[in-house]
Subunit: 443 residues, 2 copies
């Protein structure tokens, strides 16, 4: 018998490039990632792997970039069923005459489970491994995520007024706490509080949520400063800007995720920076709804953590984080009037490690580093639109399309193999989508 000093691992993934999104922002050619018991246990040049590891399975990605699984930091997954049902309308008409009536008519436990599953199928197919979600029946979203073995952070909705999910702020908060208790030991479903927006939640429930978030150690996920109108209405009504009001309530902290934040002045940015809050930038939703422009470069100059979200399919209309990275990188330059703003590598950071940080999950996900959960995405760069290949990071952000995502792992388990979903029944999903299509639009 020969003496062996190799370490046993479950899986070795070799890739033409590994782009781990470590603090050094490395781009590692011909490297591999070693995985054991759901976690990353090593990264090394593929040429050294034989000396270091004996692997139960190996995967070879000869023309791919292997990156951390993408983190979609804001959305309303079940709204995938409303994709394209109403476009090109002013925000008020769109919401009041289309989206809200349709939600009132159709949203149910079944709508949320099936719509969230459709959204997860699209997200996994395009490289997302973790998503933050704010919608009714978050327990159904949790169930769908656990069934698909995909990671979610549920921002349990809180509003002042009744919806299908709860009658008043007190009931929303009680249900959010129950959700937290029910899924506290889940590998896939995590929880947060989701007060909808400053203009839909009053001071008393916001104070209570702030206290509970500290006690339970969870984030607060909130639409904040989505439009100029929201800010001017608040000034007229309360005498201060929404972020000033949230600050007075003690809510601006590293727990706070401010979604959209298109309307920020210098004091708003200083408030976010001084108190360590994150911004979730949703560039395509902001453009499509004409909500305004988020000052991404200015936020980053002030060390505010900016993550990336697609928002829901009713206002995007896809859940493609690769497209969203490109939109973010391009738009940030025009908004800053500076072509060097948000370079490709930092757009990729927004879609990975910054998202993990915003969700309070960066100890476990967001980069390919030893000790983290093995959430990975492989993108095949051997495509006409990626020839020649002078720079893989540039191509991931500026030239790829999401059909080039080939493989996705969550906790070391392959959920997408060569473009095929492994935990979601695609034929069932097509049939369900067609049923909802008939019910919703009659098409």
């Amino acid at each position: 018998m020969t003496e062996t000093r190799t370490e046993s691992v479950d899986l070795l993934i070799h890739s033409r490039w590994v782009i781990p999104m470590d603090p050094a922002r490395s781009v590692l050619p011909n490297h591999c990632v070693a995985i054991r018991d759901k976690r990353i246990v090593g990264l090394c040049p593929s040429s050294d792997a034989g000396k270091l590891y004996s692997a139960a399975a190996e995967k070879h990605l000869n023309s791919h970039a292997l990156i951390p699984g993408l983190v979609n930091a804001h959305g309303h997954a079940a709204m995938s069923l409303l994709r394209g049902v109403a476009d090109d309308l002013p925000l008020k008409t769109w919401l009041e005459e289309h989206i809200w009536p349709l939600e009132g008519e159709h949203v149910s436990r079944e709508f949320v489970y099936q719509g969230s599953t459709l959204a997860m199928a699209e997200m996994l197919r395009s490289g997302t491994t973790t998503f933050a979600d704010m919608y009714f029946f978050p327990d159904e979203v949790a169930r769908a995520a656990i069934d698909a073995q995909m990671r979610v952070q549920l921002a349990s909705p809180v509003l002042d007024f009744p919806t299908i999910w709860a009658a008043d702020a007190e009931e929303y908060i009680r249900k959010a706490c129950t959700l937290h208790d029910d899924f506290r030991s889940s590998e896939f479903a995590h929880t947060a509080f989701g007060p909808h927006a400053p203009y839909t939640v009053s001071d008393a429930p916001l104070r209570k949520l702030s206290m509970l978030a500290d006690e339970l150690d969870v984030p607060i996920h909130m639409h904040v400063h989505e439009t100029a109108q929201e800010v001017s209405d608040a000034v007229a009504q309360h005498g201060n800007r929404p972020l000033q009001r949230l600050h007075a309530l003690g809510m601006i902290s590293p727990r706070l995720l401010c979604v959209h934040a298109t309307e920020l002045d210098a004091e708003d940015i200083a408030l976010l920076a001084d108190n360590g809050a994150s911004v979730i930038h949703c560039p395509e939703s902001n453009l499509k709804l004409a909500s305004g422009f988020c000052k991404v470069a200015a936020l980053q100059q002030h060390q505010v953590n900016v993550a990336l979200g697609t928002d829901g399919c009713a206002s995007n209309n896809d859940l493609d984080m690769i497209g969203e990275m490109r939109s973010a990188a391009m738009l940030a330059k025009a908004v800053a009037d500076d072509a060097s703003a948000l370079p490709a590598m930092e757009a990729l950071a927004m879609a990975t490690i910054n998202g993990a940080s915003a969700l309070g999950m960066s100890a476990d996900i967001g980069s390919l580093e030893v000790g983290k959960l093995a959430d990975l995405t492989a993108v095949d760069l051997d495509a006409i639109n990626c020839w020649p290949l002078h720079n893989p990071v540039s191509h991931l952000v500026y030239a790829c399309n999401s059909s080039q995502v080939s493989d996705v792992w969550v906790s070391g388990r392959a959920l997408l193999i060569d473009g095929e979903l492994q935990t979601i029944d695609i034929d069932l999903l097509r049939n369900q989508s067609e049923d909802w299509q008939r019910k919703i639009s009659g098409n």
Copy 2:
């Protein structure tokens, strides 16, 4: 023998939806297009086709939208070989320290032929059938287009200063006229004059081009008002804005294609509207280079024809007109502060019939109408990111990605079948791209 009253045609293409981009902006479910001798000879419900036509061949597209072949109205095709070689840099640094030196070192007849072929492969794969091109060695671009049987309009470059293509304005113009003569009977290669920009071409050659364009009945394709800097420099130097200067030279006419036009005041817009010039909008290039924002909705309100272009791969970095439509539709809303600006159908018009009009080719291409050349693109809407399918036009613009383009015809000949290119050797192209990659970036 039975009497037959059916009309013989070469090809019948049946599609789940035909979206012809006719003036009525029809969306025709379960229709077919009949093609004979390169041209469209009929459109009808598929259920009527048997009574009307006997076809030598039939194609069934059961889950597709069949649209006019996309028209990419501005680009520099051969720059595909410089894709991703320099990003995220201020415009001046990008041009002077990267692009121009690389062009000086590498541009040759071989570079242009091979780079243009790579670009055409990407464009055909993503549904484009006609492109306008401004680059050195336009005769090589013509040769590449004829070899691939794809349609091009060559904007033959004109500058005041010497480049690899010509020594002075006189020689550029002489070569442009030769190009026109050489390809005047070509089915695929058409010509135009391409004075680079107001700041690189002086009055005398512009006057001459204006006269020649009238004589030869061809368009003038020019970068105009790309940045605020260009306009303020011109005011400082000449005492008037570039468009005012072009107007004084008699150049603003239906022949003029103003590329970019990000910096337009009310008088500029009136000048374009009153004189029937077109604007070629390149939203992704404008964003990525922080050039500014084109006021698309305002131009359209003044009945200015706005077409769409990707620009070159060095500043985009892809040639994907489906992505460009989405960027245009989304950005126009945010710029106009109006979510109803540039609805999906009008974004599709920008990428088809408006492009054909700008290029002076709308008698032949740009819509699926009887008598026009059979340039068509099929997009398969049976994809997770297009479920449910409430609205095919919305999905084409807001949810599709270009990998869903399945089939493309130019003059009735299939250049892409089920995603496979028919007139370009993809293995040769990969090898050539790898060679250029080694030469240019050493990767």
